[in-house]
C-alpha cells in the first residue's frame, strides 16, 4: 500500500527505482497479520513473500497435512480383513434404503478429531503390525435400529469409538508413545463433543430398519484421498484491483460495474485512471483464509503446513547430499553445518533404526539438531530474522517429527524401515 501511495507522485523512472528499492525490501522479512481467528478458520494477510511461496503454502495445507480420515468404501468379508491395509467398513446389517457402498462413502467423509495426529498415530504402511493395530487404526462402531413409528436420523454422532479386534497387537512395545499423545476425543467424530454442532447425516431409517457396522479409521494425507484433507476451504487472493493484470476481466459495458471489488480491495489502493501499467510489479500481498472441517484446528493446520514445507525442503537437501553427515550442530552456519565431517548418514543410521530424528534423539554422540534447537524454533523470540546466523536446520526436526514427513509418523523423519522411506543410498 505504501508502495502504491508513493508511485502516484513520481515519474516513470523514479517509479522503477522505487520499485527496485521495494523489491530489495521484499527480500526482507515476511509479514503475517491475522485478521480473524475462529475455532476452525483463520483469515490472514501474508506480505513480502513470493507468489510461488504463498501458493506452496496454500497447496501444502490443502494436500499434505495428515489427518484421520475415516472409513472408506471398500467392502470386505471379515475373513479377508488381514489381506488389506486400507480403510474399510464392515457392514453387519443394513436394511436401510441406502446400499452399503453409499453408506460407506458417506462414512468416509465424516471428519474425525485428529489433533496432534502425526505424533499420536502412525500410517498403516509404516506400522509394524500386520493389518492394523491401536497405533495405526481406530475402530468405530455404529448400531442403530428403529423401533419407533417415526423416521430416525442416523448421524455421525451414532459412531462410537471401540477397541479394535487386534487389541494392542504386535506393536505393543512402543504403544504408549503414540497413545499418550492422543487427546481424550482422538478419533471421535467432530460434531460429537461440540454442543450445538450439527452432526453429519448418514442415513434415515424407518421402523424395522437397522444399520449396524464397524469401520476403521486410518491416517493419511489428502493427496491420497480428499477425505484426509483437514481443510474444507482455502481461499487465496492477491492483487484485488488486478493492477498486475494477471487476469483479464471480460465485461459487456463497464468493467468496474460488472466486476465489483471484494473486501480485500480495501487493503490496497486503487489504481488511478491514468496510471501506467507497471510491468515489473510483482504480487507481494496475499489474502488467505483457511477453513478446516474441525478435524484439526486452524492454527494447527497452518503450523503443520509450514513444518511440512520445511520437511520437503530438508528432504531435498538431503537428497542432493546423499553422504551427508549427521553432525550438524545447532550452532553451525547455514549451509556449512552440513559440511563438517563425522559419521555420515549411513553410518549413524545404525544408531536407531535409521530414522533421522530417532537417531539424533537417542545417540548422544551425534549432538544433532533435533536436540540442540527447540523444535519449531522455540517460538518467535528465539529465531528467524533476529538470528541470521542461526542454522536453518534447527527448525527442521519439528518439521520432520511434526509434519510426519512422508516417511512416517514416528519421532523423526523416517519410518521404522528406512528402505521404505527411500533415503537409502
Amino acid at each position: 500500500m505504501r508502495h502504491d501511495h508513493c508511485l502516484h507522485h513520481l515519474s516513470a523512472t523514479k517509479q522503477r527505482d522505487l520499485f527496485l528499492i521495494e523489491t530489495t525490501k521484499m527480500d526482507g522479512a515476511a509479514i503475517v497479520r491475522i485478521r480473524e481467528l475462529k475455532k476452525d478458520s483463520v483469515n490472514f494477510v501474508l506480505e513480502n513473500v513470493d507468489l510461488a511461496f504463498a501458493n506452496s503454502l496454500r497447496r501444502v495445507v490443502m494436500a499434505d497435512i495428515p489427518s484421520i480420515g475415516a472409513l472408506c468404501a471398500i467392502f470386505l468379508a471379515w475373513t479377508k480383513l488381514m489381506d488389506v491395509a486400507i480403510d474399510m467398513v464392515e457392514i453387519d446389517a443394513n436394511t436401510t434404503v441406502l446400499p452399503d457402498e453409499f453408506i460407506a462413502h458417506r462414512l468416509g467423509m465424516v471428519p474425525l478429531i485428529s489433533a496432534n495426529c502425526d505424533d499420536a498415530m502412525r500410517y498403516t504402511r509404516d506400522c509394524t503390525c500386520p493389518a492394523g493395530c491401536s497405533i495405526c487404526s481406530i475402530w468405530l462402531q455404529l448400531s442403530v435400529t428403529c423401533t419407533d413409528d417415526r423416521t430416525i436420523d442416523v448421524t455421525s454422532d451414532n459412531l462410537e469409538v471401540v477397541p479394535g479386534p487386534f487389541g494392542m497387537s504386535t506393536s505393543m512395545d512402543d504403544a504408549p508413545e503414540e497413545l499418550t499423545k492422543r487427546g481424550p476425543y482422538f478419533g471421535h467424530p467432530v460434531s460429537k463433543h461440540e454442543p450445538g454442532a450439527q452432526p453429519v447425516l448418514l442415513c434415515k431409517i424407518r421402523k424395522g430398519q437397522e444399520l449396524k457396522l464397524r469401520c476403521v479409521a486410518r491416517k493419511g494425507i489428502a493427496k491420497e484421498h480428499a477425505k484426509w484433507s483437514p481443510c474444507s476451504a482455502v481461499s487465496f487472493e492477491y492483487d484485488p484491483h488486478n493492477k498486475l493484470r494477471h487476469t483479464t476481466h471480460w465485461f459487456e459495458v463497464d468493467e468496474r460495474a460488472e466486476w465489483p471489488l471484494g473486501p480485500n480491495a480495501e487493503e490496497e489502493e486503487a489504481p488511478r485512471e491514468d496510471q501506467p501499467f507497471d510491468f515489473n510489479a510483482k504480487p507481494n500481498k496475499f489474502y488467505m483464509e483457511v477453513e478446516t472441517d474441525g478435524s484439526l484446528g486452524a492454527q494447527e493446520v497452518i503450523m503443520k503446513g509450514l513444518a511440512e514445507l520445511q520437511t520437503k525442503l530438508a528432504n531435498l537437501i538431503l537428497g542432493i547430499k546423499p553422504d551427508l553427515d549427521m553432525i550438524a550442530g545447532g550452532d553451525g552456519q547455514a549451509a556449512g553445518a552440513w559440511g563438517t565431517d563425522g559419521g555420515n548418514w549411513n553410518a549413524s543410521e545404525t544408531a536407531a533404526g535409521g530414522a533421522w530424528g530417532a537417531a539424533t534423539a537417542q545417540d548422544a554422540t551425534s549432538p544433532a539438531w533435533a536436540n540442540t534447537a527447540p523444535p519449531f524454533g522455540g517460538g518467535s523470540g528465539s529465531r528467524g530474522a533476529a538470528s541470521p546466523g542461526r542454522v536453518a536446520w534447527s527448525t527442521s526436526p519439528a518439521g520432520g517429527g511434526g509434519g510426519g514427513g512422508w516417511g512416517g509418523a514416528q519421532t523423526g523423519w523416517g519410518s521404522p524401515n528406512r528402505e521404505t522411506n527411500g533415503w537409502a543410498t
Binding site: 481467528l37 476452525d40 511461496f53 474441525g294
Partner: protein
C-alpha cells in the same frame, strides 16, 4: 486406468533416489535435477527462490507428466557456484524463511488467542502442558495451540 496408486504420489519406492542430478554436457554450469515424489508445491517454490539468487542465470521446473509423480528442475549458474550448491542454498534460504514465518504465525496466534480466546477445544488436543510437540518456548503463557 493408467494412474498409479495414490499413495505412490508421495511415498518413495524401494531403493528410489529422491534426487538425481544430471549435469548438462553442453551448457556450462548447468544441471537437470530430477526430484522424485514431489510436485509443484516444492518445484515452484524452489524455482522462484533460485531465480532470486544473483548467481543463478536460469531456473525452471516442470512436471513432465501429470501421472508421473516427479518433477525436474533445470538450473544454470554463472559459474561462481555449482547448480547443486545453488539449489541447496535456495532450500536453506527457504527453510529459514519458513522458520521465520512460523515464529511470526505463532506470535500472531498468541495475540489473537489473548484477544478472543478463540482456541478450539473440539479438536481435543492433549491436555498435558508438558506434552508440547513444538517446544512452546516462545509462548509466554506457556501454552500450546493444542492446549486450548
Amino acid at each position: 486406468m493408467n494412474a498409479i496408486n495414490r499413495h505412490e504420489l508421495f511415498v518413495l519406492d524401494e531403493g528410489e533416489n529422491p534426487v538425481e542430478v544430471t549435469e548438462d554436457t553442453k551448457i556450462p554450469n548447468a544441471a537437470t535435477i530430477r526430484i522424485a515424489k514431489q510436485d509443484h508445491t516444492l518445484g515452484n517454490m524452489v524455482r522462484a527462490q533460485l531465480l532470486s539468487m544473483p548467481s543463478v542465470l536460469f531456473a525452471g521446473y516442470k512436471v513432465p507428466h501429470p501421472l508421473q509423480p516427479y518433477f525436474i528442475i533445470k538450473v544454470q549458474t554463472d559459474g561462481t557456484v555449482t547448480p547443486q550448491f545453488a539449489l541447496e542454498t535456495a532450500c536453506n534460504d527457504l527453510i529459514k524463511m519458513v522458520g521465520d514465518l512460523e515464529g511470526k504465525f505463532k506470535r500472531e496466534f498468541a495475540f489473537k488467542d489473548a484477544d478472543g480466546a478463540t482456541g478450539s477445544n473440539a479438536t481435543g488436543g492433549p491436555t498435558a502442558g508438558g506434552d508440547d510437540p513444538y517446544g512452546g518456548g516462545g509462548w509466554s503463557e506457556g501454552k500450546d495451540y493444542l492446549d486450548f
